[in-house]
Amino acid sequence: MMSNTSHKENFIKGLVKENPVFVLLLGLCPTLGVTSSAFNGLGMGVATVFVLVMSNLVVSLIKNFIPDKVRIPAFIVIIASFVTMVQLLMEAYTPALHEQLGLFIPLIVVNCIVLGRAEAFASRNTVVSSLVDGLGMGVGFTLALTLLGAIRELLGSLSIFGFRLMEGDGMLVFILAPGAFISLGFLIALMNWLKDRSAGIKR
């Protein structure tokens, strides 16, 4: 069994060092597609956390019963079940968000993060550490989406989480498709720059 400190490390690695979006570059479709506002990014992140944690939990619980050859299809069925549950629950209880995120909710199924963690982590680790891993990765993903959403919303419509900060029109392009690509590009460059700099200081 892992000790508490390593659970903490396990959780934290998903936030920065192995952030699924900025470092591992996984799940970029929803990252770009739904982040026209901070709230949408947060909503998508939370939905993904649920799927990630639940599928990690189930996969780590039943990993010994699944023969290797049908591992991937079995994981996909498990993930798809949870995704559909999220979809139904969101349609029922957060209809406005459900409409905003639209197609990207069922597409959580093919989000490489979810299958990637099930395959690379949950199928080889204990239940508790798989849970922690799912939570860490999910929170890291949510942070990245919310940050990107906030930046695009700020530049594009001069507001954050729907609160208007200034009068006037923002830079429209940031809400449109090109703005998604360029914001993420500069964010990743910034992360790289920070990483290089902290490595430089250590040296």
Binding site: P30, L103, P106, L107, V110, L176, G185, F186, D196
Partner: protein
């Protein structure tokens, strides 16, 4: 009637390009676009699988899910159909045309997790298209994907020689290039 199809085709390839405007299939778009020949291979594999997948999921939707009122099983059945289809295509291709397999084989496993395939299959249902329109829509979107990835890969080949700061190299530069490409495609809006 012909006009309808033309609108579907032009809007799927240029105006609402699946990668540059709808953000589907970003992973392969960034992952296998380092040179033009691999991009071409990926594009061809996507055209192939997307068309067949859309036909099959269309049939599944209208002859299985709707009559039995199990629409909520959509995501699960679609992804299984796609995963299964990719396997079958791989096996058949290996037997029937080893040459084609040689060219496209490596891209096939990557396609299961290409959200463009599942995305198009679901979009077709959401927009309530008939079978022929669905097929046209699928092919047009696959062509749009291919066009985007080929253009992008040739830009990236040029980018390799560019003198960039270390932290901009690779993905950040690629994303900014994609942004400019996406801006260029916005110029097509209003074409139909």
């Amino acid at each position: 009637m012909t006009m309808d199809y033309l609108v579907i085709i032009v809007s799927a390839i240029f105006i609402n390009n699946i990668v540059l405007a709808k953000f589907l299939g970003i992973c392969p778009f960034l992952g296998v676009s380092k040179n033009t020949s691999t991009a071409l291979g990926m594009g061809a594999a996507v055209i192939f699988v997307m068309t067949i997948a859309t036909i099959i999921t269309y049939l599944v939707q209208h002859y299985l899910l709707v009559p039995f009122h199990i629409g909520y099983m959509q995501t699960i059945t679609y992804i299984l159909v796609i995963a299964f289809l990719v396997q079958v295509v791989e096996i058949i291709m290996k037997k029937v045309s080893p040459d084609l397999y040689q060219a496209l084989g490596v891209y096939l496993p990557l396609i299961t997790t290409n959200c463009a395939i599942l995305g198009v299959a679901i979009l077709v249902v959401q927009q309530d298209l008939n079978l022929i329109k669905s097929v046209v829509f699928a092919i047009a979107n696959a062509l749009g994907f291919t066009l985007a990835i080929i253009l992008f890969s040739s830009l990236r080949e040029q980018l390799d020689g560019a003198d960039l700061p270390e932290y901009m190299k690779g993905v950040p530069a690629a994303l900014i290039t994609a942004s400019i490409l996406s801006m260029a495609f916005m110029g097509f809006a209003g074409l139909v």
